[in-house]
Subunit: 336 residues, 2 copies
């Protein structure tokens, strides 16, 4: 490519657009469907139940400890598909680039996307690139949309948490949000806190294999555990009661939260899920999750009650009970 | 909604995000799949051939004569799906909002999307909203991705233009680009030139009904006819020869192009397609197109030759022959 940074003509639909496509996107995402170069991708798939999801990523900064906007964008949509109980198959990738973005940054991001897609066994099959003038964007925004196949009969839904069920997570919460915040604010802690960005679909497969009655899967991203569990409590019209002592939080993340006055329950995660299963299956699900590479620190963190319908409560380490509110606004903007 | 413009908290995943979703998006896009409020949409569809496409829209200004970024975003992805020869079924909608965007503008845009989706008989089934700080975006960017079903056996592909084929378009070219440009630059002509934004999938169905051997469908958006036809000429390794006198251009658009020194062949369209069919079917296809509301001014504009392989040529009104080049760069940025 002749320029070292993105110029308006890269979004023109003309020769420079084609160079970007042919010299960067096609080689990185290389697969037969993408290479058809059609207005869209033609997919052959035997199915009758699909999951379809979309997410735009505007994380700032776009490089951060443990990842970048590229692998985040792939893993984020893979996870949304997986939380529907589906096996992710195909992704789209749409870029909004700001004039002046270094092409080397774009290359690194695109290569991370390609690596994340390969790791998650999904294909990036169609895409789009737009360029906006300097000052009308912020480096790079990426939208990924995805299609997955549902090949089981379990009813997984935000409305399906049932009294007596058990709430399980796959490990330490708050890593992603604190990693971004540290990078953005130039904070340094004793250890570098890394984003937990990861594709969770094989962990979901493990869970679906361990129980035939998984009631709920969700990834607590923006708004953290507090938002996700409040949404579930409202949708299912139940109470979720958490045990503070059972929630896995790294000492470094807890220390950063104390320093910054943040509640770890509202910090974003990008490699965590919560699943809600009948109590009778909880042991088997927990054990299976702990044997998965992304579930070693899995823990039962709470249960589903019928007392404070639509609410989330927390039994603290000192034995008191407090409400966990849906956060009103934005403690940490541009986290994903 | 308590605020008259978008604030960062609308993208937080917290209560204000939920208000936007529950008070604006859900009522506008109302359908049972969306209302599941899952991480993604669960779709039941019997099929084995799908089309999947994505497009981000950054058009500036976001309101323009004949439409706005909302109906443009719906029609654009509907058309990309249709150009694959598929029937569009489901769309996603992902918003990147700039802090300070008037909520009334967002409402008008969302209502236009809902109306366009209803007109095109597609459902908006899943979505996402992000907010960026003032100065890090430009009012509103929208990504739509779409899924369509292919229910015929025709081989429609950019590589499938064949020597002897005929090139047909469904009407006046250049309207969209000139409408945007006039609005942006505050130019006024004798008549207001309106964007041609429209959903073309029923016109595509008409074409597929009129010929069992449709070789190619494409919508000449960014980069106009010149880009689209050059891409086809290269992919199919043929020459496309256009007849200048046959290309439908409004007097007002031609006059604006003359004034601005622009070639109408590179101006973007949002409600036009070109189809390439065997000569033997051309009459039937043209007649069928002319009876469709979006095809009244359909015309045969050129043919496929084997002389200047990979090139597009134009026989001018004075009988000379000129090359139609792929535009290098950006004559009209942020056109879609």
């Amino acid at each position: 490519m002749t320029s070292s940074s993105i110029i308006m003509a890269h979004g023109s639909g003309g020769r420079l657009s084609n160079m970007l496509i042919n010299e960067l996107f096609f080689p990185a995402f290389n697969n037969p469907v993408l290479n058809q170069a059609h207005d869209g991708a033609l997919l052959t798939m035997e199915c009758n139940q699909l999951a379809f999801s979309t997410d735009s990523f505007v994380v700032n900064p776009y490089f951060f400890p443990g990842g970048n906007i590229g692998d985040l964008a792939v893993n984020g949509t893979v996870n949304d598909i997986a939380m529907c109980g589906a096996v992710p198959k195909f992704l789209s990738a749409a870029f909004i680039l700001e004039e002046g973005l270094p092409i080397n940054d774009l290359k690194e991001i695109v290569n991370s996307m390609a690596a994340a897609a390969q790791a998650a066994q999904v294909k990036i099959v169609t895409g789009d690139t737009k360029v906006v003038e300097r000052g009308c964007g912020d480096g790079i925004f990426i939208n990924t949309s995805g299609i997955g196949i549902i090949n089981h009969q379990q009813k997984i839904s935000p409305e399906n948490a049932q009294v007596g069920d058990v709430v399980i997570t796959n490990g330490y919460i708050g890593d992603h949000g604190i990693a971004i915040l540290s990078q953005r604010e130039g904070l340094s802690f004793e250890t570098t806190i890394q984003s937990d960005t990861a594709a969770l679909h094989t962990l979901v497969a493990t869970i679906l294999n361990a129980s035939a009655n998984v009631h709920l899967l969700r990834d607590p991203t923006r708004g953290g555990l507090a938002s996700t569990l409040n949404e579930i409590a409202q949708a299912s019209q139940i109470e979720i009661r958490l045990q503070e002592s059972a929630i896995p939080i790294r000492d470094s993340v807890q220390a950063a939260c104390n320093l910054l006055g943040l509640d770890p329950l509202i910090i974003a995660n990008e490699g965590k899920l919560i699943t809600i299963v009948p109590q009778v299956d909880a042991g088997a699900v927990l054990q299976a999750m702990q044997q998965h590479p992304l579930g070693k620190e899995s823990a039962i963190i709470g249960q589903v009650l019928d007392r404070n319908v639509g609410k989330v409560t927390l039994e603290t380490t000192i034995g008191s009970l407090r409400m966990v509110e849906m956060p009103l606004g934005e403690q940490l903007p541009r986290i994903c």
